[in-house]
């Protein structure tokens, strides 16, 4: 007979759905079915069951093939690599628990590494803007219960955060929004007609790379100052109409994604969007929130923030924390040749970084800690498989609105497979031995 595990946290995207139901075989070893999850979330659980899953560390051989090694050898290689490097890069951290991040940071501080998370190619620009001008934000629960003006700027939750709209932003019936989507007006700003744009009341099909201008134009309209005839391909009347729609709501929220954080103007787009939110608070209640991607990228920012004061791209090489994306961000470090070893945990730069950076990872001593076979694991010298956080081991995670949620263990990991925390703790202990003489 199978048993059902309820209230399971989905370790995929920043929405961090907490209502999954997983059907597990009686011996607690096999996942049989998943309810309530989106297609991506369900796949994450099912993939843990894949028959071709790697269960032991693999060392790349000179001919490109892989040789299975023990966890002891993997710990030794990783510790020695970090010990010998003058400036190692420790990248990733977004698909693991806060507990693992914390142990990783302890190692980083010891070896003078640079700790960077996936925000560096994602919402890092948001964090720069937040540092410059602050952020008026709220929780997803508030949005569900109160928000009647929903703006999706440069994001496509229909595909990237599939349950976001049904759980929080567009369709749910909340305390003050008891008619669900009938209570809400949805504005989408996107150069493409995405599936999110298709369900919008207002779609601003903006010229690519002109978000900064359009955000400024909304702010100009709010101040009743003159506007040019068109801004970013949008006629003046439409901009003034949009400003009126935002002003007339009782509670508004701007959600934004990669479309503004990683297109032309980057942090300035977010800076201006935050200032627009601030301006709108002269008229009504308005908030702004980043559509964080990985399920615990927010947690990585939180843990780095409370330990070192900065949310990503933290350079610990000189014993104190420094932070300057553009210099201490992974791609700049890799492309410029500023680092001499790469440790990746809980991310896949091989798939997401520019080829010039990926080439550097392939040339340097490198370790990839990941349950899956990924482009990164294929170019790393050592691949260490670990248990899936949120499936085979619990741990703390932060949702996109900075609410911490404890992920649950559903099944046991395959026999002998270490968790992120166990592997990092062993590396940390080995480093203590190596550095003992220092």
């Amino acid at each position: 007979m199978s048993k059902s595990v309820t209230d399971v946290i989905c370790p995929f995207c920043g929405t961090l759905c907490d209502d999954l139901e997983v059907i597990v075989s009686d011996d607690g070893k096999k996942i049989e079915d998943i309810y309530n999850a989106c297609a991506i979330g369900a796949e994450k659980f099912m993939h843990a069951q894949a028959p071709d899953r790697i269960k032991r560390p693999r060392m790349q051989q000179p001919d490109g093939s892989y040789k299975e090694v023990s966890y002891d050898e993997a710990v030794e290689y990783t510790a020695r690599m970090l010990y010998n490097a003058k400036k190692p890069l420790m990248y990733g951290w977004s698909s693991t628990s806060c507990e693992a991040q914390s142990v990783g940071h302890e190692i980083a501080e010891k070896v003078g590494a640079i700790v960077d998370n996936t925000a560096t190619v994602c919402h890092g620009t948001t964090l720069i803007a937040v540092q410059d001008v602050g952020i008026p934000s709220c929780t997803l629960g508030e949005i569900k219960n109160r928000a009647d003006r929903i703006i999706f700027w440069g994001c496509n939750p229909c595909h990237a955060h599939p349950r976001h709209q049904s759980r929080y932003s567009v369709f749910p019936r909340g305390f003050f929004t008891n008619k669900g989507h009938m209570n809400r007006k949805v504005i989408v700003v996107d150069p493409r007609v995405t599936d999110t744009a298709k369900l919008a009341d207002y779609h601003y099909q903006i010229e690519q790379g002109r978000d900064f201008e359009l955000l400024s134009a909304f702010r100009v309209a709010l101040r009743n100052e003159p506007l040019p005839e068109t801004v970013a391909g949008i006629p003046r009347e439409k901009i003034i109409e949009g400003a009126e729609v935002m002003k007339s709501g009782r509670f508004g929220i701007i959600f934004f994604g990669m479309g503004v954080t990683q297109s032309l103007s980057k942090n300035h787009n977010i800076d201006n969007a935050i200032m627009l939110t601030k301006d709108l608070n002269e008229f009504t209640k308005f908030s702004i929130m980043a559509m964080r991607g990985h399920y615990n990228v927010t947690g990585s920012g939180q843990v780095l923030g409370w330990q070192f004061g900065y949310p990503f791209s933290v350079d610990l090489s000189r014993g104190f924390a420094r932070y300057n994306p553009g210099e201490t961000s992974s791609n700049d470090l890799l492309r410029r040749g500023e680092v001499d070893a790469v440790f990746v945990l809980g991310s896949d730069p091989g798939a997401h970084f520019p080829i010039s950076s990926v080439r550097k990872i392939a040339q340097l001593p490198s370790v990839c800690v990941d349950p899956h076979i990924t482009p990164t694991s294929e170019i790393s010298k050592l691949h260490v498989p670990v248990a899936f956080v949120g499936v085979e081991v619990g741990g703390n995670c932060y949702r996109m609105d900075n609410v911490p949620i404890e992920a649950r263990k559903v099944v046991d990991p395959p026999e002998g497979v270490l968790t992120d925390v166990e592997f990092l703790t062993r590396v940390n202990a080995r480093l203590d031995q190596l550095m003992g003489g220092k």
Binding site: K87, Q131, V220, V231, L264, N324
Partner: protein, 266 residues
């Protein structure tokens, strides 16, 4: 004035953080003492002497000290950081943070500079014969005080985000710039003798930007006021004056709203 010449002899494998290459640090020191000043390569603390051949000795004070940096310094950061007086001449192209938080004296670079040159600059003269990277004369991350005084002159072109959060001083770029000129600017003057593509003066509160060439896309928050003749960099020219950014907050002074001024050459 005493001259210290430092010549690159061993290239760092990674990048060298040489924040001690400044007249303030070299003043009153002999060549051997200068060679013992520390520098960082990654987490390793080393000495300047490991990388540079050092000749001559520092003057009694920073103002009496002149530093000539020879050789390939493309992997050396922080040259002239926080210098308050004296002179530094860099014959080739240094890396990031050249003249960062500079307070006085004269810094001349014959080649190009990388990003973050002259960030948070307070005073002095910074001349770049080649091109400049991004964030020239800008604020350090999270700081709301960008360049506050002094002069930066770039003979070539500059990158994006020049004069970010600028509060005072002057930046003159003889060539073109990339996007974002004087974003969040509150004071000071930026002169661009070439073109600037777009986002010029976005979120600008105060200060002046002069553009001699063209702007491809103007920010929506700039309104034309009048034509004006102004003296810039020693010559009088006629400009069209725009006030902005009207989407941004603007303080009042003597009952008048203070705007940022954007001058376009007619």
């Amino acid at each position: 004035m005493e001259t210290v010449t430092i010549t690159m002899k061993n290239q760092p494998k990674l990048y060298l953080e040489a924040d001690n290459v400044s007249p303030d640090k070299f003043a009153g020191k002999k060549a051997s003492e200068i060679a013992a000043l520390h520098a960082y390569e990654g987490r390793e603390q080393t000495t300047l002497g490991k990388y540079f051949e050092i000749a001559g000795e520092g003057g009694a004070t920073a103002a009496d000290t002149r530093i000539i940096v020879k050789g390939d310094v493309s992997r050396v950061k922080y040259i002239g950081m926080k210098m308050s007086a004296g002179e530094v001449l860099v014959e080739q192209s240094p890396d990031m943070y050249t003249g960062a938080w500079m307070q006085g004296g004269k810094l001349v670079v014959k080649g190009n500079v990388d990003s973050f040159a002259g960030i948070g600059m307070k005073g002095g003269e910074f001349l770049i014969d080649g091109n400049a990277g991004d964030y020239l004369g800008a604020a350090y991350r999270g700081d709301w005080r960008g360049m506050q005084g002094g002069l930066i002159r770039v003979k070539g072109s500059a990158g994006s985000d020049i004069g970010y959060f600028m509060n005072g001083g002057t930046i003159i770029v003889h060539g073109n710039t990339d996007v974002h000129v004087g974003t969040h600017m509150e004071g000071g003057r930026i002169v661009i003798k070439g073109n600037a593509p777009s986002k010029v003066g976005g979120q600008m509160v105060g200060g002046e930007i002069f553009v001699y060439g063209t702007i491809d896309v103007m920010m929506p928050g700039f309104k034309y006021v009048q034509d004006e003749e102004v003296e810039v960099d020693g010559e009088r020219s006629k400009f069209a004056l725009y006030y902005g950014d009207t989407g941004e907050r603007h303080p009042k002074r003597k009952g008048q709203i203070v705007y940022g001024k954007l001058y376009l050459k007619i």
